[in-house]
């Protein structure tokens, strides 16, 4: 069943390729249909999850819907997928965001079929990353996401797409190679040799610590940090976002960045708990620096899309802070640690929804005025009230206003981290302040005040754009008001991870 969910988009894409010269509308609606069907299937998996978890282990958080097929037996690699409380929310978020992009791209006219097929391919790859339970399978999907996004930026970007795409590919490929070296290190240290995450988590190779454990964690951590991205590996992000098409940016920031943070929770922490504890302070420091640096650089931007890109660095910093704090928590603080991990996973979901919405809104801005420069607009609220309203909700969610998902996530991260690492947490709180300032300033520049030179060109959102963006924000509000449905799913799995690394 899980494999169906993962591969349904790809199969749809192949079917689209096989059709002889389909009309653009057929392509667009097939894509929307496939994305919607996949979302329904993921929601079905979510609904059935409590009953599908097999014999509850610690905290009843084992992976459900497991499928395992030997792939390369001589190195102990298999096609092993499964879903648990950490992966299911991300899979659901992925499906929602891809559906939003499908709806947003309904009017895509430039090489529509190739565009749709690439996104369907990316959806399979993303779902694959979040469901993989084998390091090699994880790596395959992880690497393919780079290939897919490269073609999206190079083929449909604007500005200097070829250059940005190349930079994106080279930089993130460097990360994925570091990751691969780390995986091979884990493989070499395991006994019996395997790439299977579940078996590796049981074996906990390199538990003795020492240089090898540190090196492997360094390789894995660097690989994931490039993808996340954290300071100092974030420099590929702004150009990639600036030149990527709107839907590509939404996927890049909403889904692909989560592959990095997800990797920390899924691989680095459970497989190398000892080394994670030892070096957790590094994660905390990197997280806090990312929070502050991302916020301050975002504050200096005049380009709306670039600003949103930098807030991603900031938001991913909170995730790393929470995960690092969990590693530093003492045994008495186990509850706090699991709160921090829960918050980190919630933040991934929340950021996916909000940032996806923000990037799609940036795309709307560009489609109208052909510019992201905030100084060229102003007073948009008068002519485009729906646009202004949705942008305001997204911005408030992003800055962590109570009642929206961002607050739930960041509150948990801070509450969980404060006990273990009080000073870094206090510093990170400053980041929230800066983010609030810069988002409010951006809202003010764009929507209030006198009209700018490009303001007359900006009409209100069309039905298609509203249908793509509004559901993302509605979900954010839903999580903000009634977070239980999400937290109840995440918490047991987060407890298990936190128990491994704390104390």
């Amino acid at each position: 069943m899980l494999s169906v969910v993962v591969f349904l988009p790809l199969l749809t894409g192949l079917a689209l390729l096989a059709l002889p010269r389909p009309r653009d509308t057929v392509v667009a609606w097939t894509w929307v249909g496939a994305a919607a069907l996949d979302l329904v299937l993921v929601l079905g998996l979510w609904a059935a999850y409590p009953s599908a978890v097999r014999a509850p282990g610690v905290g009843g958080s084992g992976p459900a819907y497991e499928e395992r097929l030997l792939w390369i037996p001589s190195v102990g690699a298999s096609y092993h997928v499964g879903a648990d409380g950490i992966s299911l929310p991300l899979m659901a978020m992925t499906s929602v965001l891809f559906l939003a992009c499908a709806v947003y791209s309904l009017h895509q006219r430039r090489r529509a079929r190739a565009h749709a097929v690439l996104f369907l391919f990316l959806q399979t790859v993303s779902l694959g990353v979040f469901s993989a339970l084998d390091l090699l399978l994880f790596f395959v999907f992880f690497d393919l996401s780079i290939v897919g996004m490269y073609f999206v930026i190079a083929g449909w970007g604007h500005g200097r797409p070829a250059r940005s795409a190349l930079q994106f590919f080279l930089y993130t490929f460097l990360g994925s190679l570091a990751l691969l070296l780390g995986f091979i290190g884990l493989y070499a240290a395991s006994d019996p040799r395997t790439f299977d995450m579940v078996e590796l988590a049981e074996q906990t190779p390199l538990a003795g610590g020492g240089a090898a454990a540190g090196l492997v964690l360094l390789a894995v951590g660097t690989g994931l940090a490039v993808k996340t991205p954290t300071v100092p590996f974030h420099t590929w992000l702004p150009p990639a976002h600036t030149d990527a098409p709107a839907a590509g940016s939404a996927i890049l920031a909403g889904v692909l960045l989560k592959m990095g943070t997800y990797g920390f929770v899924r691989i680095a922490m459970p497989v190398l708990p000892g080394a994670w504890r030892e070096y957790a302070m590094v994660a905390v420091v990197v997280g806090v620096v990312s929070v502050l640096y991302g916020a301050l650089v975002a504050l200096a931007q005049t380009d709306f899309k670039r600003m949103v890109a930098y807030t991603s660095v900031n938001h991913m910093g909170y995730v790393l802070l929470g995960l690092g704090a969990a590693g530093l928590a003492t045994r008495q603080q186990a509850d706090a640690a699991s709160l921090a991990v829960t918050g980190a996973v919630t933040q991934m979901v929340s950021h996916g929804l909000l940032t996806g919405a923000l990037f799609l809104l940036a795309g709307v801005l560009r489609a109208r005025g052909d510019s992201y420069d905030m100084g060229s607009y102003g007073g948009l609220a008068a002519g485009a009230p729906r646009f202004a309203a949705l942008a305001a909700v997204a911005a408030f969610g992003s800055l962590g206003l109570p009642g929206l998902s961002g607050f739930i996530a960041e509150f948990q991260i801070f509450a969980g981290s404060l006990g273990a690492v009080p000073v870094p947490t206090a510093l990170a709180l400053l980041g929230v302040l800066v983010t609030a300032a810069l988002l409010l300033r951006a809202l003010q520049r764009l929507f209030l005040g006198g009209p700018g030179p490009l303001t007359p060109r900006v009409g209100d959102l069309s039905l298609r754009e509203t249908a793509a963006i509004a559901p993302l924000l509605a979900l954010s509000v839903l999580i903000g008001l009634t977070p239980r449905f999400l937290l109840d799913l995440i918490a047991p799995a987060a407890d298990a991870v936190a128990a491994l690394v704390s104390g």
């Binding site: 390369i72 190195v75 690497d143 290939v147 795409a165 070296l181 290190g185």
Partner: protein, 460 residues
């Protein structure tokens, strides 16, 4: 030899070469197509024989071993030769020397298989000559300026390497009292180290020439650029397979006991090949020259198997990677053959005109990088793991860094495929059905073998 049938594939190839020569001599120039038919049929028969022979238990005597390495090399070489013959089928059928082309290819392929099967230095030397001499003629086949230059270069370097190989054989015979691998493995540890070292290095130099590895790689880019395209595809793919298998045999069975530092030598050669090949490929604008340098760097990755000779994963990794490399390289060359293109810019907008060719090229080029799930990814992964297992962690890191660097020049080729064609470049408008077919098939093999890596590796 207990069972002559176990040499059936080699026999078929040898007989086919003779048969093609005779048939070609008695066939009018405009009907040379029947020679091609004969050769294709013979290669298919040889392939079937090779597959059938692979089921038999390993055997060997008299300087020739038939084991997993031989089986895998046979299949790869025969399939690669078949692909070359098909690539050449697109060129005008009335080439006055079409049958010679086929005969020379068959003989070179036979020599390559013999390189891999040899377990005696004298057999190795004979195989080297058989694999080399036909290539000199093939490279200069078109009798044009660039082809002649390439032929001269490969001939001079090849002759030098051949003499070194023979000298090394003589020195090792003096040191060990035998030329058989098994005897040498026993005798060399007790022999004078300087003698063994000099002899072994000379033998390796000969094999490195065939493998196109640094420091005897200078002929590779010239051949890739100057020889006729199908010949370039053949020469940069097929002989390498046999040479690397032979290198692995030496590294695995003969040298390890004699001195402790052979692995380091192989590792340095591997690192040098991949690094220099990559650096030279960076700014190439000619597609075939770029491919030539890329094969040098690929030889470097493959040499990791020899460096990690003792590791359990080295042999399956090497054999799998060889097949994967052959598929990717033939696929990329097939695209060039189909289009008749020279520079990277000539491929501008290919995706719009010939989407299948463009996709095949993307699969092959990204395959070279080791993007999953292509076969080269699996090969690279296993060799990385083998290197780590053999305690050569630094080599693994060097290989990873090189992989990243290589991405740059492969992408320089991939990117124009998807840009809009501003002017119709220097592309042939002809259909070139066979080359297109080979390109698509090679890409499919590259993908399929990566996905079905488990069952394939179980055989190796």
């Amino acid at each position: 030899m207990t069972d002559p049938l176990s040499l059936l594939p080699e026999l078929v190839m040898a007989l086919a070469a003779v048969g093609a020569l005779l048939l070609g001599s008695w066939t009018p120039r405009e009907r040379q197509g029947r020679v091609r038919l004969l050769v294709v049929a013979a290669l298919l028969a040889a392939l079937a024989a090779a597959l059938a022979a692979a089921a038999a238990p390993p055997s060997g005597s008299g300087g020739y071993t038939v084991d997993t390495v031989t089986h895998a090399v046979r299949v790869t070489v025969i399939a690669g030769t078949l692909a070359t013959v098909l690539l050449a089928a697109d060129s005008p059928a009335s080439h006055p020397r079409a049958s010679e082309f086929h005969v020379l290819s068959l003989l070179a392929a036979l020599g390559t298989v013999a390189l891999a099967g040899a377990d005696d230095l004298l057999v190795l030397a004979a195989a080297y000559l058989l694999a080399s001499i036909p290539l000199y003629a093939l490279v200069g086949f078109a009798k044009d300026g660039t082809g002649t230059e390439a032929a001269l270069k490969v001939y001079l370097l090849g002759a030098l390497a051949g003499i070194l190989l023979l000298t090394g054989t003589a020195l090792l015979l003096g040191a060990g009292g035998t030329t058989g691998y098994a005897g040498l493995a026993d005798a060399l540890p007790g022999a004078p180290r300087a003698l063994v070292g000099t002899g072994a290095v000379a033998v390796l130099a000969g094999l490195l020439f065939k493998a196109g590895g640094v420091p005897v790689h200078f002929w590779v880019p010239d051949v890739a650029q100057g020889a006729p395209a199908p010949v370039a595809a053949f020469v940069t793919t097929v002989p390498k397979v046999g040479a690397l298998a032979a290198l692995y045999r030496l590294a695995d069975g003969v040298l390890p006991g004699s001195a402790p530092d052979w692995a380091v030598l192989f590792a340095i050669l591997a690192a040098a090949s991949m690094t220099l090949g990559n650096l030279a490929a960076f700014l190439q604008t000619d597609a075939r020259r770029l491919l030539g340098y890329s094969t040098v760097s690929q030889a470097g990755y493959l040499l990791m198997a020899a460096a990690a000779g003792g590791a359990e994963l080295a042999r399956p990794g090497l054999l799998f990677y060889l097949g994967a490399y052959a598929a990717a390289n033939l696929g990329a060359f097939a695209v060039v053959c189909a289009l008749g293109t020279r520079t990277l810019e000539d491929h501008r907008g290919l995706f719009r005109d010939r989407p299948w060719l463009a996709l095949s090229l993307v699969v092959c080029l990204l395959g070279f990088v080791g993007t999953p799930p292509t076969a080269v990814f699996v090969g690279k992964l296993i060799l990385f793991a083998a290197a780590l297992e053999a305690g050569l962690g630094w080599l693994m890191v060097v290989a990873a860094v090189n992989t990243l660097a290589s991405l740059f020049y492969y992408l320089r080729w991939v990117l124009p495929l998807f840009s809009s064609p501003e002017e119709a470049g220097a592309r042939q408008r002809g259909a070139a059905p066979w080359s297109t077919g080979v390109a698509v098939a090679a890409a499919a093999v590259s993908l399929g073998a990566g996905i079905a890596a488990g069952p394939v590796l179980a055989l190796l």
